[in-house]
């Protein structure tokens, strides 16, 4: 198994002259999960966007296997899946079409196996929405569709921004089981949430973000 390590070294980010976070140091290895908790607007999303390379840092660096992600560029992007808190679906396309479209951006995703996709959708209780336009589907089910990318990809590093929002308890438990499965395969998960599920998972570090610092 490929060994992967993400480290965040003294990361600092400002927006509109106010500090979002400063001097953040964390690291994540294979089979580990990091949960970032914190109140609304404390900078969780900005942090996860920085780690995924969308947001630029004002100082500090993010490294993958001791190489700065800004210099390795697409090599880093080949390892990560980012699921933001926006569902990234097109309202005019159906569920299946959206999955096809999203898979175009990820070479490890195989969506030609329709039986497999139908099975995954069945497990998530969204099978009947297969040919619905996304504009006609509820927010929770949209979230499940965007999280289905995780089940289709073979990438190891998952960066998830509030994956549990809009989901019901049953789906949250299902998602936690998906995380555990991914962990067994040596995957790395970095996520922000308001729901502390660390007791259900081993090798799980919980940080709380407050006043621009992680504790």
């Amino acid at each position: 198994m490929e060994s992967l390590k993400i480290s965040v070294n003294s990361a600092t980010c400002y927006k509109n002259n106010s500090v979002i976070f400063s001097d953040i140091n964390i690291s994540l290895k294979n089979s580990e999960i990091i949960i970032i908790m914190g109140s609304n607007g404390c900078g969780k999303t900005t942090l996860i966007k920085s780690i995924s390379g969308i947001q630029n840092l004002d100082s500090g660096e993010i490294k993958l296997n001791n190489k700065n992600i800004a210099t390795i560029g697409s090599d880093f992007k080949e390892e990560i899946v980012y699921v933001g808190h926006k569902n990234s679906l097109n309202n005019d396309l159906t569920t299946i079409e959206n999955l096809e479209y999203l898979s175009a951006f990820d070479s490890t995703t195989d969506i030609s196996n329709t039986a497999n996709i139908r099975n995954l959708m069945k497990n998530l209780n969204i099978e009947k929405y297969k040919n619905y336009r996304v504009s006609d589907i509820s927010e929770g089910n949209k979230k499940k569709i965007s999280l289905m990318r995780l089940l289709l990809t073979k990438k190891k590093i998952w960066l998830l921004d509030e994956p549990m929002s809009y989901l019901d308890d049953e789906s949250i438990n299902m998602l936690i089981n998906i995380f555990i499965e991914h962990q067994k395969k040596g995957g790395l998960i970095f996520l922000t949430t308001h729901y502390d599920f660390s007791k259900k998972i081993n090798a799980c570090k919980v940080y709380t973000m407050k006043d621009a610092e992680l504790t």
Binding site: E78, G84, L89, N90, L93, E97, Y101, D106, S107
Partner: protein, 220 residues
């Protein structure tokens, strides 16, 4: 990947036929206003109508491109582009091309009908179509650049045109000059070559510019 993206763009435009037909209707409405305002003076209309068509094309491309990235920004797909290992420049290039095919090409196809209505001479009409074919992809590219630039702002409806119209001027000058030349029997090749050169310059560089602009807009 190219095939998937183009097919999806096609189905999005087919399901939103509004976005194909409304620019076309807008284009015809604006053009038909001019005879109403200026009166049925055939000589005057014949002289100004190629210019009118160009100005209307500019207005139409402004409307098309104004909020082009807004929906993608709100749905979060731009973040997927930015974290994707696929070339974002290629994705943006395909999107520029499909935007042009589904919104500008229908207008250009109907130009011969407009030419018949206003009795534009055949030679001018051909050059008009030709300049539009070369010019509208440039207008769309610059328009999308403006749309990406003002993405982070909540009220950008007027700002985008103010920012980008100055960049439309070279295209307009050379197109108008080509049409003028052909109508008085002068050579027009140089203007067409300059338009072609502008297109060749802007089309390949715009996806790179768009990428940096989108990254910048998301960062701020």
């Amino acid at each position: 990947m190219i095939k998937t993206i183009l097919l999806k763009e096609l189905s999005i435009y087919i399901r939103n036929l509004n976005s194909v037909f409304l620019p076309l209707i807008f284009f015809f409405l604006i053009i038909s206003i001019f005879p109403l305002v200026l009166g049925p003076d055939k000589v005057l209309l014949n002289k100004i109508i190629p210019g009118v068509i160009w100005i209307t094309a500019i207005l139409t491309t402004l409307l098309i491109s104004n909020n082009f990235f807004k929906e993608d920004f709100n749905s979060g797909i731009i973040e997927i582009y930015l974290t994707s290992e696929s070339s974002i420049e290629l994705i943006l290039f395909l999107r520029i091309i499909s935007c042009w095919i589904f919104t500008c090409l229908p207008i250009i196809i109907f130009i011969p009908i407009v030419s018949l209505l206003f009795e534009i001479p055949f030679s001018s009409s051909i050059i008009l179509v030709f300049t539009l074919l070369l010019g509208t992809p440039i207008l769309i590219s610059i328009g999308l650049f403006g749309s990406a630039l003002t993405l982070g702002l909540s009220r950008n409806n007027i700002l985008t045109p103010i920012l980008i119209i100055p960049f439309y001027i070279p295209v307009l000058v050379f197109s108008a000059s080509a049409i003028e030349s052909v109508s008085i029997g002068l050579p027009y090749y140089s203007q067409i070559y300059i338009l072609l050169a502008l297109l060749m310059l802007i089309l390949p560089t715009m996806p790179y510019l768009l990428k940096y602009t989108l990254e910048f807009s998301i960062n701020n």
